[in-house]
């Protein structure tokens, strides 16, 4: 199912549609959002390098971890650093987000410390101005894929960091503008859900088409306060957790999926849910009625039913139905109550009215049975 997310991001946006957007959420109980982020990043990068995806490059907006970290990360994944210039650009908003360092350097307060910069990173110093940030991202993207039909992926290291500096409405504006940009294939971002207001989280969920939230496997019951009882939970939660995904599909239905993950040396590994199936009980169904409409087949069958008296005036002779036997049997065996001629009408396409008398011992008392003068 994590594969599904990566595949959805890899396939990207259709023409004229907003780009798919993934929110990765975590919290202090299960602080593995960054690992999930790294996993998605490495998957997408492998798709891009193998040229299997809609996009040709990634623009990584790094707020919480610097470009050096990502260099190491990609090296450990086996990607060649030298050629990474072709498919990744890092917008470094981590080293000097507000431009203080450069101001201090200009005024000579601190020495010019050259941090090992990589060729793929560009420094961005004005995170409070999101319009400029949008411009910087799109420019980097255009650098990567050219101006025409090329598309790029935007990965935002931590929207939580962005929300520290600016308001939710400007962040939401940035994200929605990125989604509707022609050249953005997909975007994904990381969010720490317990440090923001619910309104901010709701706004970000509104803007995303997929949400993956990392949750602990078990939650300690509130009553247990003693450390000795909490430790096993903590241990378990530090080794792995569950990831719940909500997909907003194109047809408007929402798919919910869950998987377990565990943290290993090489990263994160996803496994399908092993334990008891959790039923997501949603009793949203309002008052339902019984179906009073007829389907096509039912309508056809109803049209075929033979009603008494219906064919009178059509020129056929009158035939009295005696309720003991079904229509398709031989008529000469029936009792006639009137002197009218009876014709056997064998019509296999018509429906029948089958009438079973209560008991076969009784003498047929045609005088009493009102159905006897029904004329089919």
């Amino acid at each position: 199912m994590a594969e599904r997310i990566c595949r959805a991001l890899r396939d990207g946006a259709l023409e004229g549609e907003h780009a798919p957007a993934l929110t990765i959420k975590d919290s202090i109980q299960s602080p593995f959002g960054s690992l999930v982020f790294n996993h998605v990043l490495s998957q997408l990068s492998s798709f891009i390098v193998a040229q299997k995806s809609q996009s040709q490059g990634i623009v990584l907006v790094a707020f919480s971890r610097g470009p050096l970290y990502y260099e190491e990360f990609f090296k450990s994944k086996g990607n060649d650093v030298a050629s990474s210039n072709k498919w990744i650009r890092v917008l470094d908003c981590c080293t000097d987000p507000l431009g203080w360092r450069s101001k201090l350097m200009e005024s000579g307060r601190i020495a010019n410390l050259t941090l090992g910069t990589s060729t793929t990173a560009s420094l961005y110093k004005n995170v409070k101005d999101l319009d400029k940030l949008l411009l910087a991202i799109t420019e980097l993207g255009k650098e990567l894929v050219g101006d025409g039909k090329g598309r790029f992926v935007v990965a935002i290291d931590s929207v939580s960091e962005m929300l520290r500096h600016t308001s939710i409405s400007s962040v939401a504006g940035l994200l929605s503008n990125l989604r509707s940009h022609d050249q953005v294939s997909c975007l994904f971002w990381l969010l720490h859900s317990d440090i923001h207001e619910t309104k901010a989280i709701a706004a970000l969920e509104y803007l995303s088409s997929m949400q993956a939230s990392a949750e602990p496997i078990t939650r300690p019951v509130n009553g247990q306060r003693g450390n000795s009882e909490k430790l096993p939970f903590l241990e378990q939660n530090l080794r792995g957790g569950k990831i719940h995904v909500r997909f907003k599909r194109r047809n408007g239905r929402v798919r919910l999926m869950s998987e377990e993950f565990c943290i290993e040396q090489s990263g994160i590994k996803f496994t399908p849910i092993s334990s008891e199936a959790e039923m997501i009980a949603q009793s949203l169904v309002p008052k339902v009625q019984f179906n009073l409409q007829l389907s096509e087949k039912e309508r056809n069958d109803r049209a075929k039913v033979v009603l008494p008296f219906e064919h009178q005036g059509n020129g056929k002779t009158i035939q009295i139905y005696d309720g003991r036997k079904s229509l398709n049997e031989d008529k000469p065996e029936m009792q006639y109550t009137s002197a009218e001629k009876v014709q056997t009408v064998k019509d296999s396409g018509r429906g029948e009215i089958i009438y079973f008398r209560d008991s076969d011992d009784e003498m047929p008392d045609s005088d009493e049975d009102p159905d006897d003068d029904l004329d089919i």
Binding site: K248, R253, V254, R255, V288, N291, F309, E310, D373
Partner: protein, 363 residues
């Protein structure tokens, strides 16, 4: 299907010769209590609401953040307006709202409509078994096809609206993201509505306003809830005195509950859309036609203009389906036949299945 017949009274409105020309205008028709209707663009919704959207009313649609169904309602509404040549004002939080006009659906050709003839109100050729039928002549019970197809078109969501519908039309598109507050938008709405004032003279045309996602997080004024409320209030009063309908969608999950409640009370007609979970076995067992459903639509309030009598609907929740993936239809939710062998009780989730408990009942 819930088809509301307007409450009959012993008084009937005398439509004078002058106002008879109104019925000649396509897209408008007379409603009860001296109101006029214009079509929502979805035939089933018009039937449910008793004729359409009342002229001079404010329609609110509560969005579901997980599904884009409110866009279907807005698209059909706007397309209907363009087909009937009614001036249109569209506002959305996107940077380029004009791009949305390219996604409007085209009306379906009439030959496709005939296959959709499901008139539940009149049974064509009702077969009556009557003993004395042979003594009387054949009754002609032919279904009259009235020209009502002009009032509301069935829209094909897969075909974009043809260019000739756009030409010569007044379509204003406003982006809500640009403005820091609502005053400029408010002025534009007022000037738009002044073109279709309501007065005793004949009305020439009706206007449509479609505002999408008011309160979306991208707009700067989204946290200024008082400003938004006063905007909606003044819009409502301006609309009342003009011949126009405004459809506004807003996301109730992103605004404070008090604001959401206030907006719901301000609305004349209140509708909400809801997403349904995919591949939910419980729902599939409970409802027929679950496979085709894309969402649920609930009607909470129907406009009550010039009357104190509320409209009480037989059913308030309808399933949204795409017929042949093309046109939007709304159907009553139907309970799936209870399988006698399983006998699982749905009593917890639906209110009318109290009798479907487990166990065979022997008489």
């Amino acid at each position: 299907m819930a088809g509301n017949k307007p409450r009959g009274s012993s008084f009937s409105r005398n439509f004078s010769a002058a106002s008879n020309t109104i019925s000649q205008i396509p897209g408008l028709k007379h409603g009860p209590n001296g109101t006029m209707f214009l079509s929502s663009g979805i035939p089933d919704l018009d039937k449910i609401l008793g004729g359409g959207f009342t002229l001079g009313s404010l329609v609110m649609v509560m969005e579901d953040p997980e599904a884009p169904h409110h866009m279907l309602l807005i698209r059909n509404f706007m397309s209907q307006g363009l087909v009937h040549k009614q001036p249109l004002l569209y506002a959305s939080p996107a940077k380029d709202p004009r791009g949305f006009l390219g996604t409007l659906p085209s009306p379906m050709l009439s030959k496709d409509e005939k296959s959709r003839d499901r008139d539940a109100e009149q049974e064509k050729g009702l077969r009556i078994a009557w003993q004395y039928k042979k003594y009387f002549g054949e009754q002609n019970s032919e279904l009259q096809r009235d020209g009502k197809s002009e009032y509301c078109n069935d829209f094909d969501l897969r075909k974009p609206l043809e260019r000739h519908f756009y030409s010569g039309q007044q379509i204003d598109c406003i982006s809500l993201q640009d403005s820091a507050d609502l005053t400029t938008f408010h002025d534009r709405c007022s000037s738009f509505l002044s073109q279709t004032p309501r007065n005793d003279r004949n009305i020439t045309c009706a206007g449509r306003i479609a505002i999408q996602s008011l309160g979306a997080p991208q707009c700067d004024f989204s946290d200024k809830e008082c400003d938004m409320l006063s905007f909606i209030r003044s819009l409502k009063s301006t609309i009342r005195s003009s011949n126009a309908v405004a459809v506004i969608t807003f996301p109730p999950s992103l605004v404070s509950p008090a604001f959401s409640k206030r907006l719901q009370h301000l609305a004349d007609t209140l509708v909400s859309v809801k997403a349904i979970p995919d591949e939910d076995k419980e729902l599939a067992k409970l409802l027929t036609g679950y496979q085709d459903m894309v969402g649920l639509l609930s009607v909470h309030k129907v406009a009550r203009i010039n009357t104190q009598v509320p409209t009480i609907l037989e059913a308030t929740t309808f399933s949204m389906k795409l017929r042949k993936r093309r046109s939007l239809i709304l159907e009553c939710l139907n309970q799936a036949p209870v399988d006698g062998s399983t006998g699982s009780s749905y009593a917890s989730s639906s209110s009318c299945s109290g009798s479907s408990k487990t166990g065979a009942i022997d008489f």
